[in-house]
């Protein structure tokens, strides 16, 4: 019996090739989307869950309550040591200083040099006891000695080729460092990745400027410090937090608790908490899950609609089968077998699609965190579940409807007119509402992201590039200055910390006119050419002069108003303590964004800090001149023969600030495209069925003298009506949703009416094209043929 169901189901699919193909293609596309979203979500949910103690590991983070609340993932090393020593609840503790950049020199004949950008971590043996690593050679114990290193296999291969790295030596900042261990490459699903681990005691050796109290002062709270504790059990979190509070007031003074709240963030939340450096918002995952469900919904609706619509052609078959003795249940199973087969083929095609698209997506979309299939077993189980859910979801309604049809009506081919199917109309409308809401969403997000990427508040990024320098002696600087001044295309250059609109978090509270302010100011760090290079306008007073005995400051308008609300220009020539210097405000600059546009413009000080000015920003007259880059490279190599030249245009740097938003934009754009394709497939199927049902009517109308155009319009009107109703429903829904979304942004676009007009017109146009092709074909058919066949 079962075999028979499937045999017939297969024949029936093959016979109606066109509709089966539409059905399967639509479903497969939907299912593929759903699977990719599933994989994306499971991938991100798997981050750092593989560590043996994962449930009991917590990260020490802090909340800084100033005028505006700030969140930081850092702590001080001394604080962690105290946790380790004095807290009975703490089983283990680990600290690392991560994201350090160095130039690594490999000793020996080859004398190879590598620039390691933010991949170097300093830590000790405790780190490897807290987290799970696979040791290939050696053990963590070696990292308790100064000037030792542990490498991942990937890194070891890069440095030393196939030879065993253990015992080999390389140097950083003229310090000899010995490799004492080799670990397997880290799994893809960790946020704690690093390729080079140096022992913590090496830190001071390679960074001579580090102050002596770095390791002992409770106040040395830095965001590059990764502090983790393993608690004895999961319910001790609160107790440790309050005990730490008491300890802090003892060590940092009673006031410290007014500003700082230290918290234990569970390891499993770390990946999602963007306040503390998490890379993916949970909300994005929820949005994607919702979109995936909606896409499956439209694909399912397609199937239901088409299956029921085909009833027109199959009613005789259904009737005959009943006359031949088929029971309602047997017919029901027959239709379910067809649904199952369709879903099965769709799922198979979807798996192939997923398999083909993952590498593409990883190259274009997920460059930072390439998507991996966490567990193949779970994925196949998921596919199986999807198969059954889709079979049941799409199969039951048409199967019930069709199998219960009265024999008498069926055999007489008493076709329901499609216009009577209110339920199906509702389904088509729902489908289009989803597709159009996604179109509106995409347009709004694209516009907002463009706005974020391309708007400079108070500065000009055009043709400005930055070159990281590292430590530069006075003579090297002079050499550079000379060469740059001789380049005609260099309009100006500045030694600075970062360009405006960067992820720099530098800043602190300031003392103005002898009084400490209770709010922090952001720092933009650069020399006297900073304003010129980035096109920042001085609106009162004058620009700073470099290397003055009394440091000079520029403040932005917001800060001037903050300092002197009644008469902001009064701040010029007043004393200010900011950074490490006591100096004087010499001028006011127009407000510019120091950080991304996701933040409001904050009170900011432009100041000099020689140690922080590790980048060279150059304003060129023409970005696209490759010769300039070559020339700059030559100059750089001449001045710094043992460094590696690198550069980046400010444009690209700014784009990096909106990575999350850009990813969001692309994901939702893809979802919208898929939704439109699927609903178009649905419309195409429906309109061709409608025309089929109305063949006789069309024939009669043509005999009576109706024109092709008229019949085309007649056939298209009904479906277009549904699309238009969908526009009317989708617009207010998406208007509301996008308005909510935009509230997340300090600087946002205004949604103009044309966004909706565009989305509506696009939807109607796509529907029109889909529908008219079929209806014109039907309208042009010879009426003699269609009438005879009845």
């Amino acid at each position: 019996m079962l075999k028979n169901y499937f045999k017939i189901a297969w024949r029936s699919l093959v016979k109606r090739k066109f509709y089966s193909a539409l059905n399967i293609a639509g479903l497969a596309l939907g299912v593929a989307c759903f699977m990719l979203i599933y994989l994306y979500i499971t991938y991100h949910n798997s981050f750092d869950t593989y560590h043996a103690n994962a449930n009991k590991i917590y990260r020490l983070v802090n909340v800084l309550h100033l005028d505006k609340t700030e969140y930081e993932k850092g702590s001080s090393i001394a604080m962690l040591r105290a946790l380790q020593k004095d807290f009975p609840q703490v089983q283990k503790a680990a600290i690392s200083i991560s994201k350090q950049s160095f130039v690594v020199n490999i000793e020996g004949n080859s004398n190879k040099r590598f620039k390691e950008d933010k991949t170097v971590t300093f830590t000790d043996a405790d780190w490897f006891k807290t987290f799970s690593y696979q040791w290939v050679i050696g053990s963590a114990a070696g990292l308790d000695e100064p000037n030792t290193a542990v490498l991942t296999q990937r890194q070891a291969c890069k440095y030393f080729g196939k030879e065993s790295p253990v015992g080999k030596v390389f140097s950083i900042n003229h310090q000899q460092i010995k490799v004492v261990g080799l670990i397997a490459d880290e799994p893809y699903n960790t946020d704690l990745n690093s390729d080079i681990y140096l022992s913590l005691s090496t830190f001071k050796n390679v960074n001579p400027k580090v102050e002596n109290n770095y390791f002992t002062d409770w106040g040395y709270i830095m965001s590059v410090h990764n502090s983790f504790v393993v608690l004895n059990s999961t319910n001790q979190q609160k107790a440790v937090e309050s005990q730490l509070k008491r300890m802090i007031s003892k060590r940092l003074g009673a006031d410290a608790n007014k500003y700082y709240t230290f918290k234990l963030l569970p390891l499993k939340e770390m990946h999602f908490d963007t306040r503390y450096g998490g890379t993916v918002q949970k909300s994005l995952l929820y949005t994607l899950a919702a979109i995936g469900t909606l896409i499956i919904l439209i694909a399912g609706i397609n199937y239901v609609n088409m299956t029921i619509a085909q009833q027109a052609r199959r009613s005789v078959e259904i009737g005959t089968r009943k006359v031949l003795g088929g029971s309602t249940f047997q017919l029901f199973m027959q239709f379910m077998a067809e649904s199952f087969l369709t879903a099965f083929l769709a799922v198979i095609i979807a798996v192939v699609l997923v398999w083909l698209t993952i590498p593409q997506l990883n190259q274009t979309l997920f460059t930072d965190q390439p998507l991996h299939i966490v567990s193949y077993k779970n994925f196949y189980l998921f596919c199986l579940q999807a198969l059954f859910l889709i079979t049941i979801g799409t199969g039951i309604y048409p199967a019930l409807l069709l199998s219960r049809m009265s024999i008498f009506k069926a055999i007489k081919n008493n076709v329901w007119n499609l216009s009577a199917g209110t339920n199906r109309k509702i389904l088509v409308v729902i489908q289009n509402v989803v597709a159009q809401a996604l179109i509106v969403g995409t347009i709004v997000i694209v516009k907002q992201v463009q706005f974020l990427r391309n708007t400079d508040k108070g500065f000009n990024r055009d043709f400005v590039m930055t070159i990281p320098l590292g430590e530069t002696s006075a003579s090297q600087k002079e050499q550079l200055n000379q060469s740059l001044r001789n380049m005609p295309d260099v309009q100006s250059f500045s030694y600075c910390h970062r360009s405006p609109a960067s992820e720099s978090m530098r800043g602190s509270t300031v003392m103005y006119n002898g009084r400490w302010q209770d709010w922090p100011a952001r720092y933009a760090i650069g020399d006297s050419a900073y304003c010129k290079t980035f096109g920042i306008k001085v609106v009162a007073g004058r620009n700073i002069r470099s290397e003055q005995a009394v440091p000079e400051f520029l403040v932005n308008e917001t800060m001037a108003i903050r300092l002197s609300p009644k008469n902001p220009s009064d701040v010029v020539n007043k004393n200010l303590v900011a950074g490490d210097g006591k100096g004087v405000i010499v001028g006011i600059v127009k407000d510019f964004n120091v950080r991304s546009l996701l933040e409001p413009i904050e009170p900011s000080v432009l100041l000099e800090d020689k140690f922080a000015q590790t980048n060279l920003a150059i304003k060129l007259s023409d970005k696209h001149n490759a010769q300039n880059i070559d020339q700059l490279k030559n100059i750089y190599q001449r001045v710094f023969p043992d460094q590696v030249f690198a550069y980046q245009f400010v444009d690209e740097q700014i784009a990096m600030l909106y990575k999350k938003e850009i990813l969001q934009q692309k994901l939702i754009g893809i979802a919208a495209t898929v939704a439109i394709i699927i609903s178009s497939l649905g419309l195409l199927g429906l309109v061709s069925l409608i025309t089929l049902q109305r063949t006789k009517e069309i024939g009669i109308r043509k005999v009576l003298g109706a024109s092709v155009a008229r019949i085309g319009v007649m056939l298209s009107t009904e479906l277009l009506q549904m699309v238009i109703i969908a526009v009317l429903i989708a617009v207010p829904i998406s208007l509301w949703a996008m308005h909510q979304w935009l509230q997340n942004f300090v600087y946002r676009i205004h949604i103009s009416w044309w966004v909706y007009a565009l989305a509506g017109c696009t939807a109607i146009l796509i529907a029109l094209i889909t529908v008219s092709l079929q209806s014109v074909k039907a309208a042009m058919a010879n009426p003699v043929k269609s009438l005879r066949s009845e």
Partner: protein, 225 residues
């Protein structure tokens, strides 16, 4: 074998009832071959459908092989129908995506007959109807007469006691029609199958043992041939 008492079928049209069948009384004995005749709209097909339990009357009593059909539940009626009645249509109504063999086999599948038994039964029928060579063809590859032959074979496969035929030769030319009618006569006389056919053709009606004339939903005459 079959008895209809005061069977009526009507449609509500505005306030008034339009009768398709009006108080029909009909008794059919085992082994009869009845032809129902009458002008278009006289209720022939409706009567046949009611006899075949495809349609239900609004009023009246319907007995079939001793069972009161009007009192049976859907399931029981369906079981009764499956075991006893075969249907032949004017438009054949073969299932397009099934081969000749599979079309004939389908009623057996629905009755949960075992595979080996099915094979034997279908082979037997194919042989009897001389269509063994056509068993793997699809309906669209057959002529009208051949299709109707398959239709009849399919109707007979489950060995029904009653064969109902709604203008079985309506779509065939006269030679094909004659062959089908010869077959009917043979089935009736040699195999003892009771047959009720609806027909427009005076000539085809003569094949039966009794002719019933319908007019405006009532029996106008009943003549033995």
């Amino acid at each position: 074998m079959l008895s209809l008492k005061q069977i009526s079928k009507y449609y509500q049209n505005g306030g008034s009832k339009v009768y398709v069948l009006n108080r029909i009384d009909l008794d059919v004995d085992k082994g009869e071959f009845i032809s129902i005749m009458g002008p278009s709209g006289s209720g022939k097909s409706t009567l046949l459908n009611i006899i075949g339990m495809l349609d239900e009357p609004n009023e009246g009593y319907h007995y079939f092989v001793g069972e009161p059909v009007h009192q049976l539940k859907e399931k029981q009626r369906s079981a009764l129908y499956k075991q006893n009645i075969g249907f032949v249509f004017q438009a054949y109504h073969l299932i397009d995506e099934l081969t000749v063999y599979e079309n004939i086999e389908t009623p057996l599948i629905y009755q949960n007959v075992k595979g080996s038994e099915r094979k034997a039964l279908v082979a037997d029928v194919l042989d009897r109807f001389n269509i063994v060579g056509k068993k793997d063809l699809f309906p669209s590859q057959l002529s009208g007469g051949q299709q109707q032959l398959v239709g009849i074979a399919r109707a007979l496969i489950a060995k029904p006691k009653l064969l109902l035929a709604d203008e079985p030769t309506g779509n065939l030319n006269s030679k094909q029609g004659e062959e089908i009618m010869d077959l009917f006569r043979k089935l009736n006389q040699e195999d003892g199958v009771t047959i009720i056919q609806v027909t427009h053709s005076e000539k085809n009606a003569q094949y039966g043992s009794r002719i019933i004339e319908l007019l405006d939903g009532a029996i106008a005459s009943s003549t033995n041939v």
